[in-house]
């Protein structure tokens, strides 16, 4: 019960790989969307906001099906990615990462948008009058002041993507070693009579992973909180 079997290692490492790649790949898009929604005023903003939030409210199986429609072999986006970037998603771990990224996106955008909206633009104006360009103002004022929210968005997204099930199984299918992440492995084990111990072990693993993510986010929040306490004292 103490050490992991090779299959369990495979599931764990695949889960971590899928989630990490998903979050890192979607981070620039999430930040750009958060910035647009926090700082720009443009026609159709409500629509963009709604589209970003769609995966949060849709049944995940519908999101997975929509991904199939968009990224399937003969679908426009799928063809674009395979022809120009050599990237295919169907039945591959990249597909699981894509599904995880789409499901994590709304949470990441929300956290980042809130933290960007909380940054006092008057401080940015002050930086400009002191000789800082837009870019330098962003790097030295906006980004540090929004950093705790951006980190929180990252951790939230990571936690969400590790637990992703419905869109992944619909879009990328449940292939051991390729797309079978932790939740999918638990689901498979549940289908097989007599594998209760396997289910328990995977479930414990999943709990440990979640607790780890929570502790990490708590630590990040406390660290930025301590920063605030230090400002006050």
């Amino acid at each position: 019960m103490t050490s992991l079997s090779p299959q369990e290692w495979e599931v764990l490492l695949l889960s971590l790989k899928v989630s990490t790649v998903a979050i890192l790949a979607v981070l620039p898009l999430a930040f750009a969307l958060a910035w647009m929604l926090a700082r720009w005023r443009f026609p159709g903003k409500v629509l963009v906001d709604a589209l970003v939030h769609l995966p949060l409210v849709l049944p995940p199986v519908v999101t997975g099906w929509l991904l199939l429609l968009a990224f399937g072999t003969n679908a426009p986006l799928g063809r674009f990615f395979s022809e120009y970037l050599g990237l295919t998603f169907l039945f591959r771990w990249t597909g699981a990462a894509l599904a995880a990224a789409v499901m994590a996106l709304p949470l990441m955008v929300r956290a980042m948008r809130l933290s960007l909206e909380a940054v006092d633009t008057r401080l940015e104006s002050a930086a400009r009058t002191l000789g800082a360009s837009r870019l330098r103002t962003f790097a030295s004022i906006t980004l540090p002041l929004a950093s705790s929210g951006i980190l929180a968005g990252l951790v939230l997204g990571l936690a969400r993507s590790v637990g992703e099930f419905g869109a992944t199984i619909t879009f990328a299918s449940n292939i051991p070693g390729e797309t079978q992440t932790l939740p999918l492995a638990i689901y498979s084990a549940l289908q097989i009579p007599g594998s209760e111990l396997q289910v328990v072990r995977l479930a414990v693993l999943s709990v440990l992973l979640s607790v780890g993510a929570l502790v990490l986010s708590e630590w990040l929040a406390r660290r930025s909180g301590q920063g605030k306490v230090r400002h006050v004292l």
Partner: protein, 211 residues
């Protein structure tokens, strides 16, 4: 000619027009709160784009609608001391003071770091965070940050507003020294008549605009 201003600015639903030219020294814009004095300073600093007109300081055109000139705030080299100070909360006093100083070109730094610390009496505050400063200390750091950025002119917006009564005299004397020793054109906004009469070489009254 120091400040040469002839602009129309939108403020909420109303339009404010300012026309004045100033000589050397400290010019006070004197008028009640809500008359749009801060909007004018923002326009001179490049933070607000005027609807029309022209702004020049010491012969350099900062904004000219007709000539399509509109310098970025970072190109105007103005030392703007905001009414709400706007010290960077995540940076130490030292980092706040160094912010504009590091961005200024070598030949633009007419004030050395040590001189500024002595002049303002803030040398002992360098490692503090802005939130831990008293009103008077924060005000002096804000003035220091503006002076160290190598400005060609100063905009002071109600610099006594955030200072308690006992410290006002200290900041007033400091502003007098800035006026007398640094030979920078200064535009000073206030609604306090004794303060303005004590400091200003010239007073420009600003009326409240309704609507």
């Amino acid at each position: 000619m120091s400040f040469d201003v002839d602009v129309t600015i939108r403020r909420g639903s109303s339009r404010l027009s300012y026309t004045f030219k100033t000589g050397k020294g400290l010019t006070a814009l004197f008028g009640p709160s809500g008359a749009g004095k801060t909007s004018l300073l923002d326009a001179i600093a490049g933070l607000v784009r005027p609807l029309s007109g022209r702004i020049a300081v010491s012969g350099t055109v900062l904004f000219d609608k007709a000539e399509r000139i509109n310098l970025h705030p970072e190109q105007r080299r103005c030392g703007y001391v905001f009414q709400d100070l706007r010290l960077f909360p995540h940076k130490s006093v030292r980092a706040n003071l160094e912010f504009g100083w590091k961005l200024a070109a070598y030949h633009e730094r007419w004030l050395s770091f040590e001189t500024a610390l002595d002049f303002l009496g803030i040398g002992h505050l360098l490692d503090r965070m802005p939130a831990t400063l008293s009103g008077g200390e924060a005000q002096r750091v804000a003035i220091g940050r503006a002076l160290l950025s190598g400005p060609r002119f100063l905009l002071l917006d109600e610099p006594l507003a955030s200072v308690d009564a006992e410290r006002r005299g200290e900041i007033l004397r400091l502003i007098e020294r800035v006026r007398d020793e640094l030979a920078l054109p200064i535009l000073y906004v206030s609604h306090d008549r004794p303060e303005v009469e004590r400091l200003a070489d010239r007073i420009i009254p600003v009326e409240r605009v309704e609507g």
